[in-house]
Amino acid sequence: MKLILLSVFCFSAMAMQAQTQLAPDQNPNYLISQNKYMQAKDSLQGNMNATIQQTYKAYDWYEAKLERKQNRIQNRNERRLYNNYQDYNYYNSGFNNYGYNNYYGNYRYGNRNGYNNFWSLRPSIGYRTGNWWFWF
């Protein structure tokens, strides 16, 4: 019993001391904030003396034009690769109607379904195609 009373007395004394140690004009509830930030200080101080990058993409007419051009080239290449892959599969599948493989590989002017489309009308050899293997 004496021990409990002594503990209560000690805590009361400490609380009284904390109250009396306030600086002039200090908020008496400062300990609430202090405890809150004492727990979070490690995560909050992690980015000190560093640069946080929160950049945005600015619209630039000229760069957007170049980007569109680059996308067109990339799309064209991807489409060509896909078509070549389809042709390769078709001519090597053994189910084509020509009887021999890859004869029209580089000089095709129609697709395997027998009708032309816009892309199949374009030559498949030359600078724009990236295909320089004339003899195959």
Partner: protein, 188 residues
């Protein structure tokens, strides 16, 4: 085919030349943020921070030089900009002029404390460094980088605005705001 082979051969043989240049005279190449912008920012911030009245106010009030800790700089521009280049110049000026004290922050401070912790069990008693004796900062230096881009066809103007703020840690009072604006006209 022969022409193609020759072209490819000569293209692969093109040699690159590298020339040392004066860092203070970095030429503008792409129009993006470069060394010159960083240097101009640093020069202006050093001039403003060491000449404005927050420094004399602090000396008058406290009787000793202020101690500053460097906080966060947020880059909200359209380019990747590392603020450390001009912040380091500013920190260096604090030390060389001996007008402002500087304490370590961030990852470097963590490393210092880790080293101190290591000393507690490994260093000799006479060389041991104690915890709890770090110098507390009076002010924190924080900043932001913003940009405005106006572009049409091949013309572009870019304006960077760099702001640094010095805030009293105890009172949250902003005692100094440094500002540097850099405007560029870029024609492609």
């Amino acid at each position: 085919m022969l022409c193609l082979s020759a072209t490819l051969f000569f293209a692969s043989c093109s040699n690159r030349t590298v020339t040392r240049i004066d860092p203070s005279e970095t030429p503008d190449i792409s129009g993006s943020w470069n060394n010159t912008d960083s240097r101009l920012t640093a020069d202006e911030m050093i001039r403003q921070s060491l000449s404005e009245k927050w420094l004399t106010n602090h000396l008058t009030e406290k009787g000793k030089k202020p101690v500053v800790i460097v906080g966060l700089v947020t880059n909200k521009s359209h380019e990747h900009i590392e603020a450390e280049t001009f912040m380091n110049d500013l920190e260096r000026s604090f030390i060389t002029t001996d007008k402002v004290g500087l304490v370590q922050s961030g990852k470097k401070r963590e490393e210092l404390r880790a080293e101190k912790a290591d000393m507690q069990t490994n260093a000799s008693a006479s060389t041991l460094k104690k915890f709890g004796l770090e110098k507390g900062a009076d002010y924190i230096l924080q900043g932001s980088i913003n940009s405005i881009v106006d572009a049409y066809k091949k013309k572009k103007t870019v304006t960077y605005q760099i702001n640094l703020e010095l805030t009293n840690i105890e009172t949250n009072e902003v005692v100094w705001i440094g500002e540097k604006k850099i405007a560029k006209y870029v024609k492609n």
